[in-house]
């Protein structure tokens, strides 16, 4: 049987991949995606802890994940629209070039 | 009410759907190779040459006058005159086409050649199965392939052909009458000549009815 450990390791690996992406990519959209990935890793943690936790019938982990998914969806929508707005202004999605605060 | 027009349209297509099983008007498709539409008499596609009698070379009406060649808008007719002469349906010695080619890949079936022909020699065919994989050979019709009998002409365009036949018969009759008169004159002349014991030149027959133009 799978142990909780394996899920946690996988989730931390996903978190690191997301982090690496968020830190290294220059395209704002991909950075946002990296952040989404980190959120997903956290969600996987919640579900794993719910599953292996002492009181799965309370569904706390599932609830947490559901809310987190909804927030992530909202975040993605707002984040991407901000990127679009920024793109319209500066004609680029390259974060290194979006270096001016002038609006 | 929104949707009314859409429902009306749906009713219309449904009527056509069921109507196609009932009414012949609504299913006009002709299942081509098995069924054919009845031949419409006036139909035309490509020209052919009419001949009288049994032998196409002997009875060819065309006298290689080259009017059609000149008048053909896309210039798809090629005629070469013969060196010698042969008697036509009226018995007159005429030249005939040594070559008569129609390139039906160029022909546009306008039937101007038919209209201008003074000898009723070229008519429009109804044979539309002309497809071939030989682009140059099969679509260049030569004299032999162009020749069709007067009976065939009568079969495909009965009204038009009978009018032509009647006219030709009339001309022939006129001609015969003339020939008879000439023969009588000649006989009389011969008699006279016999009486006069003077050799007479052989009179040539009269010009047949001539150009209708």
């Amino acid at each position: 049987m799978n142990s909780l450990q394996s899920y946690l390791l996988l989730s931390s690996l996903l978190f690191s991949i997301g982090l690496a992406g968020a830190l290294t990519r220059r395209n704002a959209i991909l950075v946002l995606i990296g952040i989404e990935l980190m959120l997903n890793a956290a969600n996987l943690n919640f579900i794993a802890f719910w599953r292996y936790g002492p009181a799965p019938e309370v569904l706390t982990g599932i609830m947490f994940t559901i809310f987190s998914i909804s927030i992530a969806a909202a975040e993605a929508a707002v984040g991407l629209s901000i990127i679009l707005a920024a793109y319209r202004h500066s004609r680029t999605t390259d974060l290194d070039q979006m270096n001016s605060l002038k609006g | 009410m929104v949707g009314e027009g859409i429902l009306k349209g749906l009713a219309e297509t449904a009527r056509n759907f069921f109507g196609s099983y009932v009414s012949k008007d609504r299913l006009t498709t002709v299942q081509y190779p098995e069924q054919r539409e009845p031949q419409i008499e006036a139909t035309r596609d490509f020209p052919f040459l009419v001949y009288d009698g049994a032998d196409w070379q002997q009875g060819m009406r065309c006298v290689a006058c080259q009017i059609c060649e000149k008048e053909c808008p896309p210039k798809c007719i090629f005629i070469e005159k013969s060196k010698d002469k042969k008697p036509d349906a009226f018995g007159k010695m005429q030249i005939y086409p040594a070559t008569f080619n129609i390139d039906i890949s160029v022909c546009m079936s306008c039937q101007i050649c038919v209209e201008v022909c003074p000898f009723d020699a070229i008519k429009m065919d109804v044979e539309y199965h002309q497809s071939s994989d030989d682009r140059f050979g099969a679509l260049l019709l030569n004299k032999q392939r162009l020749s069709k009998s007067n009976e065939y002409y009568n079969a495909i365009h009965p009204t038009e052909a009978s009018a032509v036949d009647a006219q030709r018969a009339e001309e022939l009759a006129k001609l015969e009458a003339k020939a008879k008169a000439a023969a009588e004159v000649k006989a009389a002349a011969e008699a006279k000549a016999a009486a006069d014991a003077n050799p007479a030149l052989n009179a040539s027959p009269q010009q047949p009815a001539g150009d209708p133009q």
Binding site: - | M1, L10, T13, A14, N16, S20, Y21, L27, T28, T29
Partner: protein, 397 residues
Amino acid sequence: MTHLALMTQHLDQIFVLTSHWLLSYLPIALQPLCSAILSVAAIIIAFATLFALTTLLERKGLGRMQNRYGPNRVGPCGLFQPLADGVKSLTKEDIVPIRADRAVHFMAPVLLVAASFMGYAVLPIGRNMVMVDMNAGVLFFFAIGSLMELAVFMAGWSSRSKYSLLGAMRAIAQMISYEVPLVLASVVVLMQAGSLSTVAIVNMQATYSGIWPHWFVFTPWGFAGFALFMIAATAESNRSPFDLPEGESEIIAGYYTEYSGFKFALFFLGEYIGMFATSGMAITLFLGGWSAPFSFLTWIPSYFWFFAKLLTIISVFIWIRGTLPRLRMDQLMNLAWQFMLPMTLLNLLTTGIWHFMLPGFLRWIVCSTMVIVPCILLGSGLKYKKKFQIRTYHFSQ
């Protein structure tokens, strides 16, 4: 009499029994796997055959509507036409544009077909004939449906053709917009059935009072929900009059312009399979799934009813396709957001009221009014806003 009852019952369960019989020869350990393979194979064969039949039916039906015969040359009544089409598409050259993204270009049709077939896992085709009775079956269905958008995008983007891209963009915008009313229209059933399991939903409808079944479509909210669901389903499956993504007179063939041969056929297959799946879901949710329309017809096998209903819906699709011209993009969006969305939300409210009102005549009147009046108002409001009308013309002199 009991003998007859047993026989009809056996006929009803013939596929289930056959499958059990076949599996009984296998070792216990292999049985679940083989059972799954058997069901998948059965579904693929059944619906691929239905696809073949539908293409023929569509062409013949459209033909008849247009006063033609339709295909009637290959085999008796053109019955082998789909076969000939299949052979043709298999033997055709597979052309990939030189600048296309080959991997994505290849994966798009595969993903589309796979995704469209996956939806059948939760569709109860007959009594006890469902692959997986999932607890969240309806959710699964819609989740899988959203995969198709990705496939469409992959096809349109990877072709590197302007028409493909335009088509893909249209398709995605359309599918996302109509997914909202599609899901919201089906939520009313979930509210009433109290379950996301397709089997539970069908079982709930397969009861009778007198001879009448308890199909959800025979309630005001159910009928409105069904109508809205079908409109959204038409748009989801890119059928006429919502076939903008492949509107051939505008953008050639939309996102699959650059596909040929068998991949093109796969798109065709995926689209039809998706249409059957959505129609099957409509049947499951509103038309009582495999249940017979009258209680005295229950002796006819359940799967027969499912396919009969499916074919009826397909025929309506064909009928509509033969009649209506295509909408324009902005009109399509307006319909989704200005008509479908408010109506589905209102329908949710109506369902709630229906749920809490006592059964009786009053409930019917209130709920019907709640559905019909806004529909008419919204419809004429839109018509008024657009200012389109049947015009009268004058003549000179």
